[in-house]
């Protein structure tokens, strides 16, 4: 248990350091090549997690288990399409990550993003979505180790915060590239424009986590223990 903790913390730390270095670049270049560096920053922070997954000796059961969770997260956008702005993809990723830990949480999140875009059409938003949902999995996996994370109310706060954070990161890709200069005012304008969507996302996260967290985490935990997966 201790070695797992150490390893995932180290890849998390590595990702953070790489991000910090490139953010420093962005600040020192003062808006020049902002998009390029933010994309490099994005990819670099995801690489340690992918590398950890790639080099892991994984069994068929585990790979399929992760694939099912990612597919459920991707598919869950479909039946909810008639309900405006309500979709449980984030909820599925958060619950899976809470049970399985940060690394598998990252893989579930980013795979769900890329696969759902394979059916809905890829776009410049794909890497950002992979990053957002992946990091949602990472953070959920990290807090999943603490006792207080089992408290439903704290989880709802977590889901609410991520609902907004998700929208804010997703705004970056076109604001950073197409609006000049980048000041606090620019970002506030973009965030005001997307406020309704972010609020809907945050509230639906709270709704799903409040009502379904227990039953879903019980199901996933049961399969994890029964088949001895990802330990």
């Amino acid at each position: 248990m201790k070695s797992i903790l150490k390893n995932s913390w180290s890849s998390f730390g590595l990702a953070f350091i790489i991000m910090a270095i490139f953010l420093l670049f962005i600040v020192t270049l003062q808006g020049q090549h902002f998009l390029l560096f933010s994309l490099i920053c994005l990819v670099a922070s995801m690489l340690p997690f992918y590398w950890r997954f790639e080099t892991r000796d994984i069994r068929a059961r585990e790979i399929i288990f992760i694939a099912v969770l990612a597919a459920i997260a991707a598919v869950s956008r479909v039946p909810f399409a008639p309900l405006p702005s309500v979709q449980p993809t984030s909820f599925v990723i958060i619950v899976s990550a809470l049970v399985l830990g940060p690394e598998s949480g990252f893989i579930v999140g980013s795979t769900a993003a890329i696969v759902s875009n394979m059916f809905l059409g890829q776009g410049p938003w794909t890497p950002w979505q992979m990053f957002c949902w992946g990091m949602m999995g990472v953070t959920a996996g990290l807090i999943g180790r603490y006792k207080w994370a089992q408290n439903k109310y704290w989880l709802c706060v977590f889901g609410f915060v991520w609902g907004f954070l998700f929208g804010w990161i997703m705004n970056l890709w076109y604001v950073v590239a197409y609006v000049n200069p980048l000041t606090v005012k620019t970002f506030i304008a973009a965030y005001v424009a997307s406020f309704y969507f972010d609020l809907a996302h945050a509230l639906s996260n709270v709704f799903f986590l409040f009502l379904f967290y227990e039953s879903w985490s019980r199901i996933i935990k049961r399969f994890k223990i029964k088949y001895g997966l990802l330990e």
Binding site: Y50, F53, V86, T111
Partner: protein, 310 residues
């Protein structure tokens, strides 16, 4: 979205049927390089002549692939962001010499308006390039690019991709069965519908996990992970691919090198410059257009060859 509706039929995108266009039959590496370069061009050359020409070429490429409907739908979808960019730039940015309007404390300058418009066109080019990308770069080709770099992830993505239509079909079954018990998400309040939908997803989760883990066991029984996997490669790297890739990389690096010296970039701040291009500017424009219209040129070449040989 229409892919979800007819899950029984396989769409040509999903099944990897061969396209009729020459460009779609190139090696995925060349196709990917083409899109990376086209997107980079649309961001590097911020100049009205460059951007308008690129926009026309991208629309022509989309039309040649019979993507008229998608082209207009995408433009409509991007309209919100384009308006946002056009409106926000002048409000945020007060730099520039030509003042056209003053409201309260905000100064609207001609420079910022021009910049906003150029950026909106650049965004339109980007969005339309992705229409073409989604048509030419099928999921199989995308997987091919990454299978060498990370086989494990590609396998995971492939399995997940296969699960999506399967789960949608399964979900329809579950929905019909649960309807007889009164669990349905067609009518009722938003809260009730979301609640019912989630209960259906829960059934899908349990059902799919049981079945999928059985599949996994059968994979193990057939020797998954016993030794290094071999793989079948669908795409070959021909001589034509080699030449095209070399041309793409060579010409585009010349253009990027020129761009880093300020060629093809309209001087906007502090004072709006003239639109006129220098001799190297025109050269760069021609190179950019030749690369952007690569699918059209290949198609035209093939057509000429065919009609001359007859």
């Amino acid at each position: 979205m229409d892919v979800y509706g007819r899950s029984r039929q396989r769409s040509s995108r999903a099944s990897g049927l061969k396209s009729q266009l020459v460009f779609d039959q190139l090696n995925p590496i060349v196709i990917f390089a083409y899109y990376v370069i086209v997107i980079a061009f649309s961001m590097v050359f911020i100049h009205p002549i460059f951007l308008l020409a690129e926009l026309l070429v991208v629309i022509a490429v989309n039309f040649s692939a019979k993507q008229q409907k998608k082209t207009f739908a995408t433009l409509q979808g991007a309209l919100f962001m384009m308006v946002f960019i056009v409106v926000l730039n002048p409000i945020i940015n007060n730099r520039g010499a030509h003042i056209i309007w003053m409201i309260g404390g905000t100064v609207i300058t001609a420079e910022a308006v021009v910049y906003g418009l150029l950026m909106a066109i650049s965004l339109a080019v980007l969005m339309l390039t992705f229409v073409s990308y989604n048509h030419s770069m099928t999921n199989h080709k995308f997987m091919y690019l990454f299978v060498r770099i990370s086989p494990q992830l590609t396998l995971l993505t492939m399995i997940t991709m296969r699960f999506v239509p399967l789960f949608i079909r399964r979900f329809t079954n579950i929905k019909n069965v649960q309807k007889t018990r009164g669990v349905q998400m067609e009518t009722g309040k938003l809260r009730e519908r979301a609640h019912a939908g989630m209960r259906l997803m829960e059934v899908l989760l349990t059902n799919s996990l049981v079945e999928a883990l059985q599949t996994a066991d059968s994979m193990t029984a057939r020797g998954f992970g016993a030794q290094k996997r071999t793989s079948y490669q669908r795409y070959r790297f021909t001589q034509r691919d080699g030449w095209l890739l070399a041309g793409l990389v060579g010409i585009s690096s010349f253009c990027f090198w020129q761009a880093s010296h300020g060629v093809g970039r309209l001087p906007i701040y502090p004072v709006l410059g003239s639109v006129r291009l220098t001799a190297t500017g025109w050269l760069c424009l021609w190179f950019v257009l030749i690369i952007d219209s690569l699918p059209l040129l290949l198609e035209g070449w093939e057509y000429l060859w065919w009609s001359l040989r007859k």
